[in-house]
Amino acid sequence: MRSSAITTTQNIADSILQPVLTPSTAIDIKNVTVSFKTAKGSYTAVKEISLSVQKGEIISLIGHSGCGKSTLMGTISGMVKPTAGDVTANGKPVMGPGPDRGIVFQNYSLLPWLTVYRNIYEAVDAALKDLSKGEKKELVERNLKSVHLWDHKDKLPGQLSGGMKQRVAIARAFAINPSILLLDEPFGALDALTKSNMHVELLKLWNLDNREKTIVMVTHDVEEAIFLSDRVVVMNNGPAATIKEIVSVPLDRPRNKRDIVHDPVYMNIHDKLLSLLIDKFSIDDIKD
């Protein structure tokens, strides 16, 4: 009788203290399964995935095309509803998209009929309703300047290069000042040189913000994943994808793109990720 009372009290105390004691958990994914109804019946994209992301951490979800990494990220952004399991972001259950989570989409998703400036302004205006007009304009200006696009503010997205479009999309996500930033194959469509610059620019923005933003990125680029992340989450091939392995990247920041590749730690991680993802390394590996 008495012991059960204690247990109950303990439970209540735990439930109150839990968020206070572990304030560093930004995202908590518990046993998440996502199934879609298709013409051929039910298709399970990801199955019983659990993953916890710390505040200020940068993690990458990596895997082959169609392995459900974008789907998993969709459950964090709230664009995808899990069939089973729970997702918590900043201590609150995810019920749908919200201004605490900024999204950078795979194909930029800028509105082609709005100028660069209006694309960001409309997002800020919708997401941060309580700000005054002046504050909103200030936010747009600051974020456009931080990605060096202020001079292009009156252009339409159709007049921009891929890299510039992606910078607009990143500025848009940063402008609403989300504590969690979700990037869905953000640099996939860019050429190698532009991509490399964008990595550094992204880290600069993250740094300017005292490394407090949590970043989750979907990618299939191994080098990109290592350079940017604290942890790389490798996923199995779908359907019913699960996490194959989580690889830590204990490299000091700020990282230097040129030097890092010679670091034995980097090389080890690189090899490990390649073996996890690829099973053919030479023509000798192709069996007839």
């Binding site: 989409f105 509105l111 082609p112 009929w113």
Partner: protein, 260 residues
């Protein structure tokens, strides 16, 4: 630049050739009917006569300009009202599968009805023949705009919808910043088809309703021993105005089509 001039030169040549062919056939018909159908030259004289004082506004005689403006006004009102109903309704049908399923059968039944069939109904409702012809224009200019608008809205790419969803756009913001701009080229296609139908229908409408207008002018000249030349002049004016309206909407459509 030079290539452009050459291209323009050729299209002028084609236009002139087409016109010459038309005039040639017309002249031949005129000869075969022994002048019952006036020749292009005789029609030109009639045209000059009709155009002498186009805005003459006597109680017993209205100039051709007055008639044209009165027809245009009726088309404008009917078409304008039709568009005001068709565009918002198109938004609704395009964004809601359920509404589309409910309204679509109604649309399929009403759309093929001849415009003229609506005239007596309009007369019964409004007890006024000019209003009945506006009603007829209204009904006929609904369909193309409605169908094209809802088609545009139902094809908004997921990417654009995601933007609205991710940043929490209000319904109003979604409509004016995503739905409207995306479907604008489709809406203009619909409006262009609608104004074409409306302009075609107004002639028939005015034949039934009487009063002042190009349609009634054709009818009057045809029946009250009037001149075939005047009918031909009216037909050419109707055709030219129809072409101008079409060009106007084509240029509006181009103006509002954005580069992706």
């Amino acid at each position: 630049m030079k290539a452009k001039v050459i291209k323009l030169g050729w299209s002028v040549m084609y236009f002139v050739a087409g016109m010459l062919l038309l005039l040639g056939m017309w002249d031949m018909v005129s000869r075969i009917t022994k002048g019952e159908i006036p020749s292009p030259l005789a029609t030109w004289d009639t045209f000059k006569e009709v155009m002498k004082d186009p805005f003459q506004n006597e109680p017993d005689y209205k100039g051709i300009g007055i008639k044209l403006l009165s027809s245009l006004a009726r088309v404008g009102i009917g078409f304008g009202l039709g568009s005001l109903v068709a565009i918002p309704l198109g938004f609704l049908l395009g964004s809601s599968r359920i509404m589309m399923n409910i309204i679509n059968p109604i649309m399929q039944i009403l759309r093929p009805v001849s415009p003229l069939a609506w005239f007596p109904l309009g007369l019964a409702i409004f007890q006024d023949s000019p209003k009945a012809s506006i009603f007829m224009i209204f009904i006929c200019s609904l369909w193309p705009t409605l169908i094209n608008t809802s088609f545009g809205v139902s094809n908004i790419p997921q990417d654009h919808k995601n933007v609205g969803k991710a940043f929490g756009f209000s319904v109003w913001k979604y409509i004016i910043r995503i739905m409207l701009p995306y479907s604008l080229p489709h809406i203009f296609t619909g409006l262009r088809l609608s104004i074409g139908v409306a302009w075609m229908v107004i002639v028939a409408g005015e034949m039934l309703s009487g009063g002042i207008g190009l349609g009634y002018f054709v009818w009057e000249e045809g029946f009250n021993g009037g001149s075939v030349g005047k009918i031909l002049v009216a037909i050419l004016i109707i055709g030219a105005v129809g072409l101008l309206l079409d060009r106007l909407f084509t240029s509006l459509q181009k103006r509002f089509t954005y580069a992706v």
